[in-house]
């Protein structure tokens, strides 16, 4: 059988920096091929070359036996290569059905017709999404489903999934994998990028691992296990330090009560939740998507307001506070590290140094009127070293960094404000394995230094590994609290879903 897509010795440079060096890759018809590697390893660049987003600097793309250059993603899509991006590329102001049929409309586009067709189509995929809903009203997981449905509907011969399962619940993941198997039987080739190694192992026929823009290994999935993948990804065995619970780890002692939340409410997302946060330890908050974790954090840090009349009470160091904007919260020492760094984390036109410096300026630590370039560069040098941000220098733009390094910049932006309470919302989302270990170390050091730290995560091993006490959030309130000794994955999950 001849490969449907072949990349021969592809090199891609951005501004003179090689993101890919001499990578070759083959994709057979009807194969599920996982592409693994740390962030910055070149997975996204490789797939974007396949999908026509980028042109290779050197090397050749052979599609269906013919050398090919795709001028644009639309051209690749037309030829049958569809890419499902991490961030959805749906039109928010159109309905689900309109999005699925986008670009395929008949001249007279009767909505009723496409609603019925979309309904049947979505049902055939086992996706419980209402085709008449507007995409802007959907949650992240449902958007992902629509995006997948659209790729399938375009009768793509190759579908590239970039982190498709990150936002899905276990149930939805199950549907997704059965869909992948169905597509495979129909002869569709699938490229699967994921940080969830177990999923990749379970689903793939073959696995290719990239490291630092170079090809490391391609082999049948059955010849891999978790340790082998991780050691090929990072060039060292990390699995021991990551996510395997260190039994000897002792929970940190309770410090002072920094934050006390009583009967906090906001609309339908946060309902009457109460809990406390202590200094010198990490409070983990676990909950499924939609359980109100992020909203609770945003109320505490002033990003959103709580209800006026029955909103409950937030006490910081025993003093009742009600923030309507984040500024007074930042002044009082509460910082929120967002889960969505691109949308509300950093300034994309600005450099690393400017990004970090801006948050120093906006805190009360800098009372001056005039900015200082030398102070900015000093600060950037200091923080990029402390958090080990990998970039050429402080003048590199944050948007050009890998996910892990972007996250480090966002964290530096928060820490530069000298907070006493730091709320990390999904601190390792879209971050590679190597950087996760570093980020966890940073978070641990903060707690050791006596800060009150809150870590919100929907990844159980992360919570178990980091937190000194674990709060479980469900339907807008904290329903259970575990000490780290008594917590198990089963107990936490049980509290979170039931």
């Amino acid at each position: 059988m001849s490969p449907i897509l072949e990349l021969k010795n592809v090199t891609k440079e951005f501004h003179g920096v090689a993101a890919l060096r001499n990578v070759s890759f083959t994709l057979m018809p009807g194969e599920v091929h996982s592409l693994l590697g740390e962030n910055g390893a070149g997975k996204s660049t490789l797939t974007k070359i396949m999908a026509g987003v980028h042109e290779p600097t050197q090397g050749e793309v052979v599609f269906n036996g013919q050398p090919m250059t795709f001028g644009s993603p639309a051209e690749a899509l037309h030829k049958g290569i569809a890419m499902v991006f991490q961030e959805t590329s749906l039109v928010p102001s159109l309905t689900v059905a309109q999005n699925i049929y986008l670009g395929n409309e008949k001249f007279l586009n009767r909505l009723r017709g496409i609603y019925i067709a979309a309904q049947q189509f979505l049902q055939s995929l086992n996706f419980g999404v209402d085709p008449t809903m507007y995409v802007s009203q959907l949650g992240a997981a449902q958007k992902q489903m629509v995006e997948i449905a659209r790729a399938v509907h375009h009768k793509a011969r190759i579908i590239i999934f970039d982190e498709p399962t990150a936002t899905l619940t276990p149930e939805e993941k199950h549907h997704f994998f059965s869909l992948v198997n169905r597509l495979k039987r129909e002869g569709v080739s699938i490229i699967f990028i994921s940080h969830a190694l177990e999923e990749a192992l379970a689903i793939s026929d073959r696995i290719t691992i990239l490291r630092d823009g170079q090809h490391v290994i391609t082999d049948d999935a059955k010849n891999f296990d978790r340790d082998k993948i991780i050691s090929s990804m990072v060039g060292r065995s990390l699995s021991a330090e990551l996510y395997s619970r260190d039994k000897s780890r002792k929970a940190r002692a309770y410090g002072q009560k920094v934050l006390s939340v009583q009967n906090l409410s906001m609309g339908k997302m946060v309902r009457n939740t109460s809990f406390s946060v202590y200094s010198g330890q990490i409070t983990g908050i676990f909950g499924l998507i939609g359980s109100g974790r992020t909203e609770t954090a945003k109320i505490i840090s002033g990003v959103v307001k709580r209800d006026f009349f029955h909103g409950g009470e937030v006490r910081l160091d025993g003093r009742s506070v009600r923030y309507r904007v984040p500024r007074p919260a930042v002044k009082d020492g509460i910082v929120y590290v967002t889960e969505d760094r691109k949308i509300e984390g950093f300034f994309e036109t600005k450099s690393i140094a400017e990004n970090i410096y801006m948050n120093l300026l906006s805190s009360d630590l800098n009372r001056g009127v005039v900015v200082s370039h030398s102070e900015m560069m000093e600060l950037a040098k200091d923080w990029t070293k402390r958090l080990n941000v990998k970039a050429i220098d402080g003048n590199a733009r944050v948007i050009e960094l890998s996910g892990g390094n972007q996250q480090k910049v966002v964290i530096a932006k928060a820490l530069v404000q000298k907070p006493k309470l730091v709320i990390f919302d999904e601190p390792t989302r879209g971050v590679d394995v190597g950087a996760i270990a570093e980020l966890h170390q940073v978070i641990n050091e903060l707690a050791d230094a006596g800060l009150a730290v809150v870590v919100i995560s929907s990844y159980l091993p992360e919570i178990l590994n980091l937190a000194d006490r674990i709060l479980v959030s469900r339907q807008g309130r904290v329903v259970e609290e575990f000490s780290t000794e008594e917590a198990t994955e089963e107990k936490i999950m049980y509290a979170a879903v039931h």
Partner: protein, 328 residues
Amino acid sequence: MNARKLFRYLNQEKIVFLLTVLLFVAFSLTLNNFLDGNNILSLIRSVAVLGILGLGMLIVVLGRGIDLSLVATMAISIAWSMQLIHEGMPVYAALTTGLLFALGVALFTGILVAYAEIPPLFATLAMATFVYGFGRAHLIVGTDVVYMPKTMGWIVMLGQGKLFGVPMPIVVAAAMALIVFLFLKFTKVGNFVYAIGDNLAASRIGGIAVRPMLVLQYVLSGGIAFVAGIITATSVEAMNTRIVNSNMIYDVILVVVLGGVGLSGGRGNVRNVIVGTLLIGVLMNGMTIMDIQYTVQNVIKSLILLLAIVVDSIVNPRDEQTGQQGDI
């Protein structure tokens, strides 16, 4: 490969600057009186007010807004000041009143945008109409044109004087450009303007007082409008409030956009405004010497604007790489 590198190096600002130089050379070679010292000065002088207004627009546009009430504020505030002088108010008191009026109007606009969260396009459009209507109905009743009082003293020099042979409007415009440049580059608040234009949510979470900053942007542009008003009124010894109904505000947007300031906020600086203003100056001056009709001049101006935008989008296409988060 080399052509591509050159392409990368080019951006709208450089294209427009290149175009300005080309036009300048072409006019110098073809038009007799163009390359005359006096003509060059009058060329720059003719766009000085436009440039000053462009600076006000720049500050607002950088913060993701737009200010369509600039010209109305300029015309009515200075006209009212001069009207008050005619009615017997001391010069400085009258000018202060006019300035306070301009700042007050801008403050109100800013509050509408920042706190009532009305889109700036509509808020400033409504304010422009309101200011003009209110001014004509209650402040300078009965006339379109308010002539400059004879008692203005040294202030007249701002419009008519010269410094080392350079007309004062040019000097004032240059000084304003310098002040705005220093403000945007070296002050904390100026940096916040960029931050808010780049990413409002991140600015807010970072602890920048976003709403007061938005109000400040409009107040600054209102103050700049008043300065432009003084220059206009003293140069031509009158303020014709009908200027509000002309397409001057579009010219202001034109110089800002032409120079390469991003309407989506956060991108651009004073240099862009200067380049845009100079191009319009060279173009209009050359066309006036060639005796091209005013209406035809507008056609050419609009074509140039379209061309600049098209070239920019070809040279700097929307980058899918930066449009997506994640790893390279």
